[in-house]
Symmetry: none
Subunit: 227 residues, 2 copies
């Protein structure tokens, strides 16, 4: 299932896009300003972003930079402005495509398909990664965690944090990097978030949460996941 994040401040455009995308079995999130767009992108990990440049709270190019700070997700820019300068700016900031309003829905969808297609891993990526420990199993592709034969229920943030740690299995991940990957690029010092969510992960997955064997704290530096 492909997940799309639609960012636009005009409700009718958002609605049109959402309806068309859902009809084609995309999973769609919507945001109406830059701040929530960045937050949603961090929380939901869309496979492609459709971004209107004319947002109420911040410049669209800033949103692109905010995304590009930590992800290579395809960004498809919508804009009412035809000026060549605008396009160049957006594309060089990291956008993948630029469509001017008014746009044809067919064309937009085709461009969206193209963006998603080329983002797919080249040669059968090892994305079906399953990591097992003595006590639980993490299926990165299926986004599922199992323990003692039963599925463990994780909230989006918990899963996101777990995913970053597991993808860097064995390596230390600095707290700043964790915060930026999970909560977005504007975070970096709010270490209390990490404390809270690491505690939840340990409570749900560790055999003895007060003496963790897999989610290891490196004081002053970050955390490390160990099989």
């Amino acid at each position: 299932m492909t997940r799309v994040l639609v960012v636009d401040d005009e409700p009718q455009i958002v609605r049109a896009l959402v309806i068309n995308l859902r009809a084609r079995t995309y999973e769609v999130d919507a945001a109406h300003d830059g701040a929530s767009a960045l937050r949603l992108a961090a929380a939901r990990h869309p496979d492609v972003v459709v971004l209107d440049l004319g947002l109420p709270d911040m410049d669209g190019v800033e949103v692109i930079r905010g995304l590009r700070g930590w992800t290579r997700v395809p960004i498809l820019v919508l804009s009412a402005r035809h000026s060549s300068d605008e396009k160049v700016q957006a594309l060089d900031a990291g956008a993948d495509d630029y469509v001017t309003k008014p746009f044809g829905m067919d064309e937009l969808l085709a461009r969206l398909r193209a963006a998603v297609r080329r983002a797919e891993p080249a040669g059968g990526g090892a994305d079906d990664m399953i990591v097992e420990t003595g006590e639980f199993t993490v299926d990165l592709a299926a986004k599922k965690v199992g323990r003692a034969g039963k599925d463990v229920r994780l909230t989006p943030t918990e899963w996101h944090l777990l995913e970053v740690l597991v993808r860097n299995s064995g390596r230390l991940v600095g707290q700043k990097r964790l915060l930026q990957e999970v909560w977005g690029p504007s975070y970096g010092t709010e270490t209390n978030y990490l404390r809270v969510y690491m505690a939840q992960l340990r409570r749900k997955l560790e055999a003895d949460p007060s003496h963790p064997k897999h989610f290891i704290t490196e004081p002053g530096m970050g955390y490390r996941f160990e099989k």
Copy 2:
């Protein structure tokens, strides 16, 4: 150096593109029909293809399919036709972008940069530099130190000091430089810090801490790490 293959049957457009691209230090090949385009692509392996759909010998979409049969090289389509149908066809056949003539050179170049950029290999290279001695192992990427099969726990300052020494393996590092790299630029004379933390490193890593073989003191000058 980025290599571009330009495919168009109109000589003036080819010339304009070639001049503009060469001026920006791209390496450019040109073809005037589909057959030679496919041949040139196979022979020269361009990093991006700029393809006009209106070719004399074959349908542009066929050219796209011909390329997609064996390569994922980015394809940027040029076309005089604005019809939504054409665009959808080309994009779904495997094109990455679609620009209608007449086009602005700035915009085309920006789209070309975008296409090349996202084709670049993903993550910054896995910098898994590992340094081994007879007694312990330092993994700079994972920020991990192992000794006799077990992980050794280092505090942030200990790790930082070790990292500077290891990255200058074999070379003498002056105490002033060590202090400034680990404790910050305003330090430089507090050599007692060094004494304390060198002692901790030796205690944790040397077989015989009182007769160090790897963390060597150069009296009056600094310290040196030796495998």
